[in-house]
Every structure is written in C-alpha cells, then in structure tokens.
Subunit: 129 residues, 2 copies
C-alpha cells in the first residue's frame, strides 16, 4: 500500500515580476499546473493583497494547489497536493517554471498519509537551478 498522497512544495526566486500582480494570470497558471499534474480543479478562489501579492488556491478532485506571489521580491511559493495514483504533482513543475521563469528554484516532496505513519514524511528533496 502506498501513501494516500504526495505533496510538492516549490520555491521560485527571481521570477518574471510583471505577472506576479496579475490575479487572472496567476489563477490561469495554477489551473494549468493542476492539469499538467493530471488533476482536476473543482473550484478556486484568489485574493489580491496590498502591499502587492496574489494568493490563489484551488480545491482539486485530488486535494489542492496554491500559489502565493511576492511581486517586489520576485518570489513565488507553490504547493500541490495530490492523492490517488493517477495525478503526479511532479508533472506540474515544468510548466510552472516556464510560466514564472525563476532564476532559481527548489522543491521538496512530502508523503502524506503513509501507511507506516511514523515513517519520515520526506521522500524526495530536489534542489536545482
């Protein structure tokens, strides 16, 4: 038996700043990323903050995805949590990197609901530029 889900946290620095205040664009990138992962968006919400920053989150049939932007700093934080065996959150990363164009990024994948319970939740750490 596998864990119930996989949770990928993606960090992106020095992104394309011009899109980080565009809520419609951020929501579209988020929904495209869910699709790339093989997941289905059930519903989504977003909010524009001041000082500037966008938060967008979506409920997926497979769990959730979120995007938070820091336009001044050029930093974007994404998390994508998918359960089941069809969706693969790693498949969302390529499109997110293309959309945000970070100079640096790092991601980590956490097992959720492992049947071994006390097993470490950390399964993979990626650190790439």
């Amino acid at each position: 038996m596998e864990a119930y889900g996989r949770h990928v946290l993606l960090e992106m620095w020095d992104c394309n700043r011009e899109i980080l205040e565009d809520a419609e664009k951020i929501t579209q990138i988020m929904c495209d990323a869910a699709g790339d992962a093989g997941a289905t968006v059930v519903k989504s919400i977003h909010h524009e903050f001041n000082p500037p920053g966008i938060t967008a989150v979506a409920i997926l049939s497979e769990s959730h995805i979120s995007v938070h932007t820091w336009p001044i700093e050029g930093y974007v934080a994404v998390d994508i949590f998918t359960c089941g065996t069809v969706a693969d959150p790693q498949l969302a990363i390529k499109g997110l990197l293309e959309a945000f164009g970070p100079k640096d990024h790092t991601s980590v994948e956490i097992k959720r609901g492992s049947p071994y319970k006390k097993e470490t939740m950390l399964s993979k750490v990626y650190s790439e530029t």
Copy 2:
C-alpha cells in the same frame, strides 16, 4: 533576515470519524485553527466528495490553510502556511488535535522563501503520539 514563511504539514490518524463528513464542522475547525495561529481568514471554500471526504481551504492574510479528511480511513491531512512574524503555524496544532482526536499524529515544518535559497527547506520534524 528570516524566511518569508513557515509551512506546517500535520498528519492525523485514527481521528473521530463522526465529524470527518461534516463540512460545516470541518470549516469551523479550520478557521479556529487559523485563529489559534494568530492568522486571519480572508475567504474559504469547501467541497464534499463521494466516496466521502471533505476538502476545505482558506486564504489567510498570512498565506493559506487546508484540511482534507478521509472518513473511512479516519485520516486527516492539514497544512498551514503563514508568512510574516506575527502568526505561528505551530500554535494551530493543539486545537486541531483536540478537535480531531487522533490516536497518532506527525507534523513537519518547512521554511518557505529562505533568503539562503538553497538551504534545506526542512527546519523541524516532529513525530509524536
């Protein structure tokens, strides 16, 4: 300079099954947890799945919180991501454990947006019963 945010992932097994299909209750527990962390809920959404399971997510002024329930298995996955120096996502855990009454739980805290970029994102792992 500190990291921009702290992201806590909480795993709970063998929870009180009778509340895991109650969307209103799950949303209330989630919003209470955000408050315990010193965070402010901006807006929230939820969805009831079949086979049973609730997903609730909220945008916070400080980032987001999500709760996913597996009523048949008795498992609940929570994540709470807070940025800034006021909210503390660890303060949400006590109330979540009281509300869901798991027999086992584990949590992990991930640094988000560390100024050291390539520094490991994993800052603390908790494993408690």
